[in-house]
Subunit: 306 residues, 2 copies
């Protein structure tokens, strides 16, 4: 039976590229039939990566049947995975997030979690000497994942090792990292095709603070003004999205990649108070700038307080 | 703060030796102050290993204080760990058991789980080239762990890789595996100093089958007759142990390492029926022999039915 390799719902670049990398490794190097899959539409940067390197877009799947062999990448959180994930035959997990619990396996399996910025960095190490057999277009996917997750090494999640792997790949591929990252971020920043609700859900994780449930959404962009021009309608849509998704409040952080700051939308007193408690930021309008904040994992989630 | 490295409660050889190996690696190679610890008295084979290779017996700890940096080895099951484990600062997990869920970490950490027979085998790979700097007495601990968990390669959990690592170590150390394993198993088989209750708890995991809670205990020995001579009093003690430990029934499998079979004690109709459903074994007395059964993980737990 073919192994399905997938990341989390709302696929970003790492959750789109890493399944492609690992399915290649399993099928071409290990001789285990494997195919990448997506749990939703890839975001614009991930779609750019697929098109730019002529990678076939993986099939989008809704759920997994009982006993399907799967490898999970870029998450270990059942809430971000198909409903029947614990009914699947989980054969491996490769991830760089904190262990949240909730996944169970039927026997001992291969699990590799490392505190680096990107799943693709871990895969580079696991593949080891067989990296020499990787086709360039898969290497390009690997490089794209690392530049995406590290925001071209700007994110505080970046480790020396992420950077070293990306620089080695770029050297082998003859790619200029600054030029290519600018292309990637421009693709990510073109959000004109998306509705407000789609923007609020595009890169979003649920998180609870003192009993209040938040959808913590991030939009990484080189053109924050384009998004912030839509502040009024985004704020209006937050209520609908929160109600539909069963959370109390949507938080939207518009991350300015180049200037390394985030703008938090402030729809009400709850978020105003949260901005003050969490970031010491005093909001006087419907947005507030948080200097230096670019990482949900390292800078937003750990600081959230009411 | 010194990192505490420990395995599971009721320390066997792997849960005693692997903390020693990893604490050496962290402190001597990575420059991170670390110390091995035990969550209970080591079993006779583990005690033999410590004495044979002049390894200092790690301190026995009851619980961990909030924020203590820890590395967990040879388990990922909170039930087998200190009560406050999720209050500790878990920095790493190295294990070869199925993922059971329940552990949570504050951030992304190093987690390596592999489907091999022994934690020490995984450590060998993680240590990599630095194996050349490992003192012989630590290498001896590593070899002992692998020979213990694989029952000298007899257990069906044994992988080619466990065997290759053990044979490489034995070659470097000038140790004859058959001779040394015989010494180890003789040490493990000397259970004269233990009470019946101690024997029933020595190598034991809790497991639930259709709502009935079992303590699934295994005694690996080269001298099964010595243990089976105590069948009557062991059966009598099962009730007390079950009541004290809050389970419905204790199961004791006396594993004959050399003849590769287990003898299950049959105290009542529940266990008689379980022997039939699980192993197709028809018990006509207070013991029943299960040919070929040596591994709790691969052959006992997956087959348990009522």
């Amino acid at each position: 039976m073919t192994v399905q390799v997938f990341g989390h719902k709302s696929p970003d670049t790492d959750s789109t590229g890493s399944p492609i990398i690992w399915a290649w490794y399993l099928s071409e190097i290990k001789g285990i039939p494997a195919t990448p899959a997506l749990l939703g539409e890839p975001n614009t940067e991930a779609a750019f990566m697929l098109q730019r390197w002529e990678l076939e877009k993986p099939a989008i799947i809704d759920d997994v049947a009982d006993g399907t062999p799967v490898v999970i990448v870029d998450t270990n959180n059942p809430a971000e995975l198909p409903a029947n994930i614990n009914g699947a035959d989980i054969q491996g997990i490769i991830d760089h997030h904190k262990l949240v619990g909730g996944l169970e396996t039927k026997g001992p399996i291969d699990i590799t979690i490392r505190p680096v910025a990107c799943t693709a960095t871990i895969m580079h190490d696991l593949i080891g000497d067989d990296m020499s057999r990787m086709p360039n277009r898969i290497k390009c996917a690997m490089l794209t994942c690392i530049l995406s997750d590290t925001l071209e090494f700007r994110s505080p999640t970046t480790t020396d090792h992420d950077r070293a792997v990306a620089e080695k790949l770029a050297g082998q591929l003859g790619i200029s990292i600054p030029d290519y990252a600018a292309e990637m971020f421009a693709a990510k920043s073109d959000v004109s095709a998306f509705s407000d609700a789609e923007l609020l859900r595009m890169d979003s994780k649920e998180y609870e603070v003192e009993g209040t449930r938040f959808r913590v959404s991030v939009l990484e962009t080189t053109a924050p003004a384009t998004v912030l021009a839509r502040t009024d309608s985004l704020i209006e849509t937050m209520q609908t999205v929160a109600a539909e998704d069963g959370v109390d409040q949507v938080l939207l952080f518009v991350v300015d990649i180049l200037n390394e700051e985030a703008t938090l939308l402030v729809p009400n007193d709850l978020v105003k108070s949260l901005a003050a408690s969490s970031f010491g930021a005093s909001a006087t309008s419907d947005t507030v700038v948080l200097p230096g904040v670019v990482s949900r994992k390292k800078q937003i989630i750990p600081n959230l307080k009411l």
